[in-house]
Structure formats: C-alpha cells, structure tokens
C-alpha cells in the first residue's frame, strides 16, 4: 500500500464536523431578510441554527412562502406539509400559491439562497445530486433542477468524501448531473469552498484540519487566498 493512501486513511479518521455542524455553518450564509429554499438532507436542518437576530423567509416548492418550524405532536395538519411531506407551521405573513408560481420563484431568480444536498460538485460548479449510478428504482428529480437553475446563490451541503473515502468535490462529475455551473459555495464536514471563475477557493477548514490535508481529500485543485481560517460555527 503506497504511503499516500495510508496517510489519507489516517486523515479519514480525524474528527470532522457533524451534519448538524455543517447545517449550522450554512445558516451563517443566509442574509437577513433572505428568501431561502432548503433541500432534503443536511439543508433541512439549517432552520434550527438561524442566528436569533435575523429573519429568513423559507420557500417550499410545493407552494408555501413563510414556512415556520415543524409541527409539534398533535399540531400536525396534513394539508400543511413541506416538500419532504413533513407537517410544518407558518410564520405571520406567509402565503400559499400553486406549483407554477412556486417554481416561477425558483427558476426566475427570486430566491436569494437555495441550499441543496449533493453527491458530487465539480470545479466548475456542476452539481450531481439526484441519482446514484446503478442504484435500484426509478430515481426522481423533484425540484432540484429548477432550483439549481434559478437561485441567486446556490449552496451545497454534503460530506466531503463518500463512505469509501472518495472525493465528492471533483474535476468533472461522474454521477448524473442536476445542473451545470450552478453551485456557488460548498459546505462540507471539512471545509467551505467557493466556486470562482478561476477555480475552487478554499475559504475555511474544519477545526484541526490543514488546507493541504483537505486538498488530499478533494478531487480538484483548491486555491487559497492568504491564511485559511477555521470554519465559523454559530
């Protein structure tokens, strides 16, 4: 076994952020007053970590603006569910609209930020997040293609590497694509990475991680601009 692989295996055993911490970091990317769509998986945890001093309006692609917290037991109304089919509540000033208007909002550039899960992100910002090659069943696209095509800012939250240690940030996606050149920022359990016209920029690293170690677990070159600080957490 070559030394490099041994070293990466050792890296994989170092502590990384939890899913909740990734969500917490992503929450800091949401500006006050923003209209935001949160996708399945880690993104769906973000609402729990919003700084108290800001207000964000959550859009659900089934036709809600101004979604509040999840419904408590006994409070559920199954006509008031989010895009994951989970009963939610409303904040004052919420509104309902049909599906065409819901996705007019996604495609038309009206959402300030969308946060999606991801299987792979390429150095150009291509996103693959809807289908694992060879997986059983029909697969399903849902709203991800409309959302990725239209959000003013698209953040992807995901683990930095697969369970097998393969990089999920890659030169070119090998999984079926969701959208081309759509991702602005990737937040993982190891790093915050921005997609820029010049390439990927490593903005922050997880506590205890060095940029060169993150690079080893990344499938595309990461640029740095000066010292890379530790990931901010709320």
């Amino acid at each position: 076994m070559p030394a490099e692989t041994v070293r990466e295996k050792a890296l994989l055993e170092k502590p990384r952020l939890t899913r909740e911490q990734i969500a917490g970091r992503a929450a800091l990317e949401l500006p006050d007053g923003a209209y935001v769509n949160l996708g399945w998986g880690i993104p769906n945890l973000i609402a729990n970590y919003l700084p108290g001093e800001i207000t964000v309006y959550f859009h659900s692609e089934n036709g809600i603006l101004g979604m509040g917290r999840r419904a408590k037991p006994g409070e559920e109304d199954y006509d008031l569910v989010d895009a994951m089919k989970i009963p939610v509540t409303l904040i004052p000033g919420a509104s309902f609209f049909h599906q065409a208007d819901a996705h007019l909002m996604t495609r038309g550039g009206h959402l300030d930020v969308a946060v999606l899960g991801g299987f792979q992100v390429s150095e150009k910002g291509d996103l693959a997040n809807w289908k694992i090659p060879g997986a059983k069943g029909s697969g399903g696209i849902g709203g991800a293609m409309d959302i990725s095509a239209g959000a003013k800012k698209l953040i992807v939250c995901m683990e930095h590497v697969t369970k097998d240690g393969a990089p999920k940030i890659v030169k070119k996606c090998t999984y079926p694509l969701t959208g081309l050149e759509c991702v602005d920022t990737v937040i993982t359990d190891l790093a915050v990475v921005d997609v820029s016209p010049e390439g990927l920029v490593l903005r922050e690293v997880a506590p205890g991680w060095r940029p060169q170690d993150v690079q080893k677990l990344t499938g595309a070159p990461l640029m740095t601009k000066g010292r890379v600080p530790e990931i901010r957490l709320p």
């Binding site: 089934n62 399903g140 696209i141 959208g179």
Partner: protein
Amino acid sequence: MKKKVYSRLDEVVADVPDGARIMFGGFGGAGFPNNLIQALVRKGVKNITAISNNCGTHDGELGLMFKNNQIKHVIASFPGPHASHFQERFAAKEVTLELVPQGILCERMRAAGAGLQGFYTTVGVGTEVADGKEERVLEGKRCILEMPIRADYAFIKAQKADALGNLTYRLAARNFNPIMAMAARTTIAEVEELVPVGSIEPEHVVTPAIFVHRIVQAKGLHYAG
C-alpha cells in the same frame, strides 16, 4: 344548462376510457383526489397514462392503480421510494416513465392550458432530461425546448366549490391542482364542501369556473393505504 355537480363518484368517472391520459393533482400527501382515484380503481380502466408529481405511497394515492396494473405510462418528477407498487411494475418493465423536473412538469402543463406550443428553459441543460430535446443558445444561455403536456382529464382535489365550478384550496393542498385544472380537456374536481354560488368572494376564487367541468363532493374519505 348542463349541470356540473354530480352526486356519485362512479358516475363522474363513468366515461373515462381505457388508454386515457389523466393528470392527478397532489403533493406530499396533500391535495390528492383520492376518492376519484378509488372510483377509477373500481371502474378498472386500463392502460392509463398518468401525469402526476409522484406515484403514490404504498396503497395510498396512485398506489392502488399501480397495484391494480391500470397504468402503463407515467410522466412524473419524483415517483418516490415509497411508491412500492409503481417501483415493482417499473422494475418489471410493465410501466414506462418519463422523468421531468418538477417545475418544468408544471410549466409544460401550463403551456398546454395557455395555448403555447413550447418553451425554452435552461433547466435540465446538460443532464439526462435534455436527451433527445432540441438545444440552442438564446440570449447567450444554453436552453432546451420543452413541449406542452396535454391530457384528456385532470383529476383534482379542492376544498370548496360552488355549482358553477369556482374552486378554493386549503393551505398547501393547492399545489398542482389549479394548473392541472387549466391544462386538461375535462377537469373533474373532488371537493370537500359545496357552497352556494356567490359565497366565494370573486377576489378569492383560485380556480375560476371556466376550468372546471365536473364536481363531486367527497368529504372525509382519504386513502385506503
């Protein structure tokens, strides 16, 4: 004048032929025309093309029709891992599937309703969704041509209807229903409540009567899943 209100579910679907193209409203468990779906199950129509965001949940929603092998083709955005009967039929190649991004699914139906002949979008460019579709650059952006999705029937669910066919929807149960109502040749609405004509404020009507051809009240029954 021809009445739009029917008293029986089986009567309202009586003329649906084998091979019909049917849109089914609903998303995430809300706004599904479950009583109409069950009437179709009782009727036993075959070879249906179903246009629906998803493909049911086990025996719920469209699940029963897949279990009963009534659907041969689906146009959907997210069939769903819990659409067990669909997934079995799909694996057995008894059902074919066209996967469409959710917003584009809705927009293609709207195009049919709006008398448009197709539209260009950046959504899906460079993905499997673009396979076989015309691609061109407009205003400097790569886009693909998406065509209208038409249907013989729209099966929808509303909260209130008056006898003219004006509809309102409850909370997020609105979802695909108003767009499907605009897009099909014959729109059949399952409603929770029939209210007197004039009792829905003109400014609060969500689906104007012109889009609704038949109404049946079916309060209470949800799905047998």
